[in-house]
Subunit: 584 residues, 2 copies
């Protein structure tokens, strides 16, 4: 059997940064060539970044992407890398689509191209377009209608893009019909908790359906609300896992595959789902196996808590860097949410770039200040204290507020204070809200919700506790100081906006609250189903009423890492003026 | 020819409020029956409201919609209205769809039903699903695959839903193939500037294609970011306009139509686009023409400025009421933006429910306070003054801010002040930002951007001036006091955040700025095309850089009325961490 040395470049891209992304592709291609690769691949839309959203509808951007692709092909050849075929995801337009009402302007396509000897030798577009969850691809793209097959060193490689593997039909059976020796899918598949297991099973199943070895190249890094977790996979035709790349890190997975030689009478024409086989032969003859076999290896898997924590770190790091910031600012209350956010921030951008500020009021307890100072001491972040009493007194003198208005005022004074420091010193403000409190509206709009990024906005409070404990345990195992003060983890959560206040004054206990929220928010279960699952009807009704009423607040919440199966970011879209109530 | 008395109920609905919407349908059906109607129709998704967004994916809501439809049919019969066939838009699910990956959960459908004698006698679903601009219907719905035809008093009425008329193919040619005597489309078509002209031409064209009289029933009112402008239309098969309902108001358009009798050999089976004819015969025999003919009439059209102003008023009124508020709060700077917002608010909810607050700083000019007070005097809104100097001094004492940080602080102190009054007194806060300043980021996050609703966020500054002048002129023509002080219109715009500041320190003149923005934002033109249109390259580059950099701020902007062809609301979706720059 011919041997093919495949190089899967699991990299990060920045949306819109065509020059920077091209530079990165060039750099990694040099590495692939140095490794003796026969075929190098880059993720879905690696050249443009993913998701480009409405940039796809801007023709100057589509043309810039096409020009950048051609420029990249030329540069690869100029640098002596032209002999290595390189697969690059980019944004193209469909030349044959007739304009019609309802079709995305300019007929853009989520495309892949094979670059070789300075030219684009084969181009194709994603066939199955996802339009659910975080995806809107019917809005942006026209589907591809070919089954691209590239012959490299005597092996027929069928090419696909992401959703082509997730949905039934299309390019997986078409790869079998085309009698491909390898199915190679490039992806930008966002992280969700436990999605790695789902993805592995998917690739194993598709390899068996396609009847050939299947390689799944993933993107890594973060873009706005999305995190990409890497974890590229290569699976044999029998479903056996041949190699697996690390989670959450850039790298190049190189491995030698023994693959069937292309048939002399390889099929042509239209196959499954109306896909027309589009063949390009680059090198018909197999190469003799040379040197020791590279196996790619099986990267060690992260545990569940470390995986989630890593997603939070990677998402924040990318957001800060891609927005052109170098440092972050976080209000430190002494509570567990801001402590976990600060710990994540230190891991993401380094403690020397994290600025914490304690903003005590007359209702702040002594331990609040102590715990915040202790966190600063343990992590080494920059720390200062600015009491809000003078500002509070000025407002109360003018307005004489009471009740919730007085409570919210304190939170808003802190938000304004953080933004003032941010404007003066140039830090990106982090919002400390967790998913439980945001879901039920237990937060102050323009107050604790202030911030460009909410690192734990998709983490339920019970997970906040678990992650804080995991992070401290991991530090101890590494012989480091645990970043989060024990007292921040063990004391009862409180907003400290009135004397003696604790969260359980207003909210159910967090384990019960989170269990109900998970059913209602993440799984779209109705009130009856949640009660049938064993929860107290009055508590269910109270919780669901809070969630329904909180929808408006959430609309103004900053973007943040998306890690839950269904969060409050892009993938939950509810009308604001919503008269529907799950409970009477 | 048989005569059919058609009643088109151009009404408002509230998303999710199944009971309230059913009550409204019942009330209007009583009216139709009293008018002797033979067929009554209600808009697209009138029973659920439109758009339901992710509520479509919640099975408890889909089932509640189905139950509400059956309940409505029963109530109509109980009230003696069962003989009148009533067409109602609602949310259903497709009973025959097999679950598959990528299909909306539960296979929901944007559906219509004919209620008669206490039963649902015919149900159908939208065939063409829009997925562009403000629409996401591939995310939510499974398309319908029938061509429903209802025989009423000997006339075959082909039924369609909104997009079925906007896109080529599908139910328009199918209505011709089915030899229908009337094509009736129910709609929830959001307002855009000049869309009424487009819509009229569309209906005239489709009537000719369908070869029969065509009725286009529109929704009216407001829902979140959308405004529905009414303007229902009936057009003859030759394209002649037979009747047209008023813009922006609820009402029932009743008219008698002379229509061809249904053929004895009317076609069956599958016709255009794979649509299967689904016929229900309610009453085969034509009714003799009785009494004088009702013509429906041609409502007077609004002028361009009045039309836009009406959209702003209707959108705000709906948002306030549907969110359960009774009053609004607006910061009054003496400038034209807040003056126009206050005038719109007074027209929307009545001056007795509008609260204005002047929040002068040491940089505020004398005329700012005078103009704000004069606005209050002219309109009769509630007015108070709260200086921000004590709060400003408290922050400056603690932080010693300079430059932009000091400017933004003043704006945020005002935002916090408005929210404090809102929390204390229960008003909904209005944000005064216009589209020009939001586009270029000339506003303060958590400052002047504070508010649940931005009434003029989709109105360019040049239009703000035009609308203010129109509103004053309209008042004079009606013998009323013009609401907006002349000085607010004529003085140079200024944020008054530092001594002597005017907008043109930072921005191009508004007529030029708005012209460039319109090309870049609304029409997606690139830098080269804008320069080619005759604008100064340096000015174009500066403006586009400001827009690109402002994207992040806009993400946190409150929802507001959507009136432009392409605004900053739902229908502009750009990545935040965007490396793409139109200009170098």
């Amino acid at each position: 059997m011919p041997r093919l040395r495949l190089a899967l470049n699991q990299i990060d891209s920045r949306v819109g940064d065509l020059d920077g992304n091209a530079e990165s592709i060039l750099r990694w291609t040099r590495h692939c060539a140095a490794q003796g690769a026969h075929l190098a691949a880059f993720p879905e839309m690696a050249l443009t970044g993913y998701p480009v959203e409405d940039l796809a509808l801007r023709s100057s951007f589509v043309e810039a992407s096409r020009a950048a692709l051609k420029g990249l092909a030329a540069r690869l050849a100029e640098e002596g890398l032209g002999e290595l075929p390189v697969i690059v995801g980019y944004l193209d337009r469909c030349a044959t689509a007739q304009p019609r009402y309802g079709q995305p302007a300019g007929a853009p396509q989520n495309a892949g191209a094979v670059l070789h000897k300075g030219e684009v030798v084969l181009a194709y577009a994603k066939h199955h377009l996802p339009n659910y969850g975080v995806f809107d691809e019917f809005r942006y793209f026209v589907p591809g209608d070919t089954m691209p097959v590239l012959r490299v060193h005597g092996v027929d490689v069928a090419l696909a893009i992401c959703e082509d593997l997730w949905q039934d039909g299309g390019r997986v059976p078409a790869a079998r019909s085309a009698r491909a020796g390898l199915l190679l899918s490039v992806n930008a598949s966002p992280y969700e908790r436990d999605k790695d297991d789902t993805r592995l099973e998917l690739v194993r199943k598709r390899a068996q359906e396609a009847g050939c070895t299947t390689a799944y190249l993933a993107m890594t890094g973060g873009q706005d609300e999305l995190v990409f977790d890497g974890d590229s996979i290569v699976v044999g035709r029998d479903g056996e896992v041949l190699a697996r790349a690390p989670q959450f890190s850039e790298g190049c997975l190189v491995l030698d595959l023994e693959l069937p030689a292309a048939a002399a009478d390889a099929p042509e024409g239209v196959v499954d789902d109306g896909l027309r086989i589009d063949r390009v032969v680059l090198s018909p003859e197999p190469l003799p196996a040379a040197g020791p076999e590279l196996t790619g290896g099986h990267a060690e898997r992260l545990g569940d808590d470390e995986e989630v924590y890593s997603a939070l770190v990677v998402g924040l790091r990318a957001y800060v860097a891609k927005n052109g910031f170098r440092s972050v600012l976080v209000g430190l209350s002494g509570g567990i949410d801001s402590a976990l956010v600060a710990a994540i921030a230190c891991d993401a951008v380094g403690a020397e770039n994290v600025h914490g500020v304690s903003m005590p009021s007359k209702y702040s307890s002594g331990h609040s200040r102590d715990d915040a100072a202790e966190l600063a001491r343990r992590t080494g972040l920059h720390y200062r204290t600015v009491p809000i009493e003078p500002m509070f007194d000025a407002y109360m003198g003018a307005l004489g507020l009471t009740g919730l208005a007085e409570e919210n005022l304190q939170s808003r004074l802190r938000g304004t204070l953080l933004m003032a420091i941010s404007n003066q010193e140039g830090h990106l403000v982090l919002a400390p809200g967790n998913k439980s409190e945001l879901a039920v509206g237990y937060s102050t709009l323009y107050g604790d919700s202030v911030g460009a990024y909410g690192p734990i906005k998709d983490v339920y409070k019970t997970s906040v506790f678990r992650l804080a404990r995991w992070r401290n345990r991991a530090a101890r195992e590494r012989g480091q100081t645990p970043p989060i003060p024990e007292n921040s983890i063990t004391k009862p959560p409180s907003a400290e906006l009135r004397p003696g206040q604790v969260d359980t004054d207003s909210l159910p206990d967090y384990p019960v609250l989170d269990a109900i929220l998970e059913l209602y928010v993440d799984r779209d279960r109705g009130a009856d189903e949640i009660v049938a699952a064993g929860y107290d009807p009055a508590l269910v009704a109270k919780t669901l009423r809070m969630v329904d009423a909180a929808e408006y607040k959430r609309r103004q919440y900053p973007p943040g890492t998306k890690i839950s199966p269904k969060g409050f970011g892009k993938d939950r879209r509810l009308p604001i003026t919503n008269g529907w109530r799950e409970t009477a």
